[in-house]
Symmetry: C2
């Protein structure tokens, strides 16, 4: 290990040990204490708006070579500071997920078994240069009783530090340990490597960002990972689709926002309805500025569409672009999705309940929708109040990750002196 | 990669691809089909008892240098074959965990959100040379709709193969793909290495065995791991314990079976009751053949006890041996447990409900018990019908892992054409 990596490892270890010590206090903090911390932090964000904008200006001045979209995500404005403050207050208003009795039953020997929600412990969150994620993730982790080490992108260090100061003020006001929410104050990439090696010190790594980041984390991490990877989402227009519904839902699923992971990237349409319906769908989307990559059967109906290469069906466009393929019913659609999909979110548009059931039951994806826009795959839309991301793995939590999903459980077994025969 | 490792990697990849293809069919198989497979396999185990015992005799003849306990676990008898067959039938009699609606709610926009239990996919199970685990694990994975690749100890290859033939017969009879349950037919350790690298092909690795095996898997695996690690369980006798209950529960928790992970390894006893109660507890256990390692405060009361080194409190004895320490109330007991415990199972013996609540809420362990033997930490005792082991991590599942814990979930979102604003 070189000196820089050694230094990063030492920094991380100190941070993680402090987080572990703090985690016990946060885990057992009653709801009013956690909510006081969040509301005080919100007030601090508003009170220190000028300092936040100045820190953000320093980040923006130092950043070079960023895309316009990246710069936009990095930029704070008075409205965005207010949105962060409101976000903290919204999390404060959510029910406390800790201590919920998830199940309870009694055994013939009289033992009462109770499954109780409990915080995970110490979470390590790795994300890109989006200052608001610092506030959102801190709030969700704190409310769910976890300690967290936040490692944002190197371009947002000043902004993250200024936001963190507000959260620390909230923790102090509530009598909670400041180490419960820590922000890495280093641009050193070795710090991320140290986080990924910290099995036993960090209980869960949540990577949120581009495919490169998530893949690196999944490959390197010795700590369990709750991955938020790509959303290669499909909307399947079944023969028995209501044409007007198919048009409005697909336009929304593709074009409402193209950069979100729940945006539809591929349209699958049944051969039986494609000749009449596909031209309408294409015209709607083209009018909204969408481009296309279509397979040969789709181009036989709409010859003006550019031809798709096979790789296009494996591409998460995150842009005004749609892959299009003609299929032959539910099984054919499922085959395509299994081959190219990312097990995130897929929708079927149909009036045929049997076809819908076959589609939903045939999917392996985290979320299957019937007659709804894939863009509903969102913690807020699910009613979770807020989310830290969309989990795309199969373990622990799938789909939107809110306060409940940031908890694990334990059992309480209540006896009266039972011994096992 | 050398030739052997290359060969093992090729074997594993072929097995995993076949398992992935089979997983979809098993995941969607209705309960009667799965149960038919299990009952047919049970009948085959009984019908082929002679072949099983002959295969097992070949394993035993080839094995050298095994401990008596290891040889005992490897040995099949007519009674053990019958027990395996009954085990398969018991799993057949359990409710199907797949497709259970875990939660359902409606959003203001009319969307119905439904959380549904779903199999994990392809499970890789790595365990020691215990033939019965082949049958048990196959049954639990099949009933929970998963495909499984079983890799038992190298000493049990013949036995595992003979058991697998019975399970394959069951799968065939039910029209299920044989690749749904596969048994590694190689003693090559590189096969395990290949399993641990098979991210994307295997969804979950379950290691079950000694600390060395589990640690290796946790360190090397690129696939998510549901670890079944050590159980360094504590029984804490609180000042307000009923002495008779403390005596009977501790004797059971330590000595009913000493080799199980739920056996108590350390007694913590409050200073206030130790002078009168500790001598009784020690006498009870000594009469049962238990040895002791005691701290200075315990030895001040029972000078005949051997002195404990600090490392003794970090030792999972799995034997007739008990570490003993005197503590000063609930917080002191919790401090000891956090320092030396393995987050498996801990019990408090007390008549004081407030102290019990403080203890249970202060634990980070998977299972906390009040006035009950730690040996109740078992899937059967929890009412799960059968278990594949006890999970000691914090993600996905904690404590006994039964059919429900071998499932993940997905969402079905039922709409009527909703689009997101």
């Amino acid at each position: 290990m070189n000196a820089i990596a050694q230094d990063a490892a030492s920094q991380l270890e100190a941070a993680a040990r402090a987080a572990r010590a703090a985690a016990g206090q946060v885990a057992r903090a009653p709801r009013p204490v956690k909510d006081l911390a969040l509301r005080t932090a919100a007030a601090a964000l508003r009170a220190r708006q000028d300092a936040l904008l100045a820190a953000n200006a320093a980040d923006l001045a130092a950043a070079t070579g960023l895309t316009a979209a990246y710069t936009d995500r990095l930029t704070l404005t008075p409205a965005r500071v207010e949105a962060m403050a409101q976000g903290l207050e919204e999390v404060a208003a959510l029910e406390d997920p800790v201590g919920r009795v998830l199940a309870e039953w009694q055994r013939p020997n009289g033992l009462v078994m109770r499954r109780v929600a409990q915080p995970l412990g110490v979470i390590g969150m790795i994300f890109e240069s989006r200052p608001n994620v610092t506030a959102d993730a801190a709030a969700l982790c704190l409310k769910s009783g976890n300690a967290v080490i936040l490692r944002g992108g190197r371009e947002s260090l000043h902004s993250a530090g200024a936001i963190h100061a507000c959260i620390a003020e909230g923790l102090r006001a509530a009598g909670l340990p400041e180490a419960a929410v820590q922000v890495a104050q280093t641009a050193d990439r070795a710090f991320v490597g140290a986080m990924l090696k910290a099995a036993g010190l960090i209980d869960l790594i949540i990577p949120r960002g581009g495919k490169g980041l998530v893949t690196r984390v999944q490959e390197e991490s010795r700590v369990p990972v709750l991955a938020h990877a790509e959303g290669l989402c499909h909307t399947y227009v079944h023969t028995a689709a209501d044409p007007a519904m198919a048009r409005s839902v697909l336009a929304n699923a593709k074009m409402r926002r193209t950069g979100v992971c729940g945006a539809t990237e591929t349209l699958l349409i049944d051969a039986a309805c494609a000749p009449t319906l596909l031209p309408l769908l294409v015209a709607d989307l083209a009018a909204l500025g969408c481009g296309f990559r279509a397979d040969a059967r789709a181009r036989a109906i709409c010859p003006e569409l550019p031809a798709a290469a096979e790789a296009d069906f494996a591409t998460e466009w995150l842009d005004s672009m749609l892959s299009v393929a003609v299929v032959d019913g539910v099984d054919s659609a499922l085959d395509h999705i299994r081959r190219f999909g990312s097990e995130h979110t897929e929708a079927i548009i149909t009036e045929d309940a049997t076809a819908a059931a076959a589609f939903l039951n045939g999917l392996d994806s985290a979320v299957g929708m019937w007659n709804a826009s894939t863009q509903f795959c969102d913690g807020g839309e699910f009613g979770f109040g807020a989310e830290i991301g969309i989990a795309t793995g199969r373990l622990h939590a799938r789909g939107p990750v809110g306060l409940e999903q940031l908890c694990t459980y334990r059992y309480h077994v209540l006896g009266t002196g039972q011994t096992r025969p």
